[in-house]
Symmetry: C2
Subunit: 359 residues, 2 copies
Amino acid sequence: MDDAALDLSLDAAALTAQLVDVPSESGSEKTLADAVENALRALPHLTVDRYGNNVVARTNLGRAERVVLAGHIDTVPIAGNVPSRLDEDGFLWGCGTSDMKSGVAVQLRIAATVPEPNRDLTLVFYDNEEVAAHLNGLGRIADAHPDWLAADFAVLLEPSDAQVEGGCQGTLRVHLHTAGERAHSARSWMGSNAIHAAAPILARLAAYEPRRPVIDGLEYHEGLNAVRIEGGVAGNVIPDACTVTVNYRYAPDRSPAQALEHVREVFADCGVAGLVVDDESPGALPGLSHPAAAAFIEAVGGTPKPKFGWTDVSRFSALGVPAVNYGPGDPTLAHKRDERVRASLINDCEERLRAWLVG
Amino acid sequence: MDDAALDLSLDAAALTAQLVDVPSESGSEKTLADAVENALRALPHLTVDRYGNNVVARTNLGRAERVVLAGHIDTVPIAGNVPSRLDEDGFLWGCGTSDMKSGVAVQLRIAATVPEPNRDLTLVFYDNEEVAAHLNGLGRIADAHPDWLAADFAVLLEPSDAQVEGGCQGTLRVHLHTAGERAHSARSWMGSNAIHAAAPILARLAAYEPRRPVIDGLEYHEGLNAVRIEGGVAGNVIPDACTVTVNYRYAPDRSPAQALEHVREVFADCGVAGLVVDDESPGALPGLSHPAAAAFIEAVGGTPKPKFGWTDVSRFSALGVPAVNYGPGDPTLAHKRDERVRASLINDCEERLRAWLVG
């Protein structure tokens, strides 16, 4: 499909179906990005910018506050679940229904139907969220055009079951190396076993008590876990190396540097021969005390929850913009062959956001 | 080379050079086996049998005792170290000089020069020792023609620096599995970490005190070691499985069943979800109290040492034949590009064996 047209006068559930029926696996978002751009350019109250397959539309009403609604337009690979179909129980099935074309439909409906929001509005549609972090469209906009994302508060319409999830935990992954000396296993006392040397590391992990700090009223829940262990040379050789890969998920009151310092302290006396950072992404504070956030929570209702997993809200946080997840999809159905979304929830979500932005 | 002739009138060092110059990597022993068979068939005091590329020659003098001299004729892959060369310091260089064509040369010299030994003599030349156990020529003879190996005592001319090494330790390799439940590492409390569950196993291994039992005057030295550890699903997943591969090297006063029972006991309360035997080979008692062994030790001199590594002496032990290693090669030079043997030691070794078999 080279050309696709979106009808923003449809209700949010029907518009979700249109979006699902334009395939947009990561790396192949152009057709859908074109359709989104064309639909937005038809709306005179918005200025529209494009960068690659990322589209940003803004009102410019000189309001005291500016808020962002953001969503990614790519999906994981289609698994025989396109085109979409609506069943008799009111569920819309198909790739991206939950993660997160239903959220994108809500963004587009707000764009079309709220020409004079009470807060200036920035709508961000980005690509490559489901693949490697360096390809992420939101990250690339943040690098190339950070001014496009300037705001007081941001809502990411990732699937959250229409619950507000505040901030996100950071993640740090390190390799802990132990060392030994090779020898034939028939004369093991001639060597030194690097796998045995990992015993204190595993003991420390098994006994670790994670923090559960409360931030802005949300109780986060940390975790320190081995996610991989590898060691061994051959079936008759005392191994001279072993690596435990540890993932620390930490609450957003800690910085990446503090997280690394904590991990160093935990394993300080465990005979670690080398600690190498493999991957790290900062957390994001929920920022629920900001007036725009408080108004948002009042408008959408419910009790905000902490977000445990790392999400793109962290990219906003890095730009100084507090952010939350709030979207109609069900996160437990994301990336599944039987992915689906309750159609009525998409419309509810649209109505609640409209209530926040109007009046 | 389709045809090679061996001159058994050369001294043992010169004969070793002839043997090295007939390449016989594992699986390509035919030319050398033919040459050995032809040389032995020329000796009227021996009966010669052949099975594949394995050659067995025997005296039939009706002596009260029968002893075996055994050696493998294959080598590891040649590494630019054939043909052989003798240097000015009296070292013969080349593939197989140490492991173990120098030993084979001693066997052939004894075959040619001791027509009426004081003990009936069985000379075994076998293939495929350096490769997978199921290909091993000695094992295949033991399966097909165990009567060819019947004896009171056996000497394996593997490299031992012309020291008697008695018996050998057994080896048992098991996989210890731990179990858990997968979860996203951002919500680790939803799962159960199988790598952390391996902590008690590694702690037990690190604290293990191996036995050092004395058998027939030889002090063995056991070992219980992790030789491999593997666990992990992805960098953000709590792993549901981890496997520690443990190698138990045990003194020959324990049977394979006792060794397995010991390993089960050691890890009984370590949360092991499954124990699977990966590989096992029994040990071999040194049998030094047998009169033929005692006479051998007196003839060759020195103080017998225990053999820690598993060797083909265990195959004799399984047939009820006590066996030792005794050969002119240097075990630390086996399989090396700069493999070599001291020429004078080959001749010494031949003289000592002759002293045992004559008079």
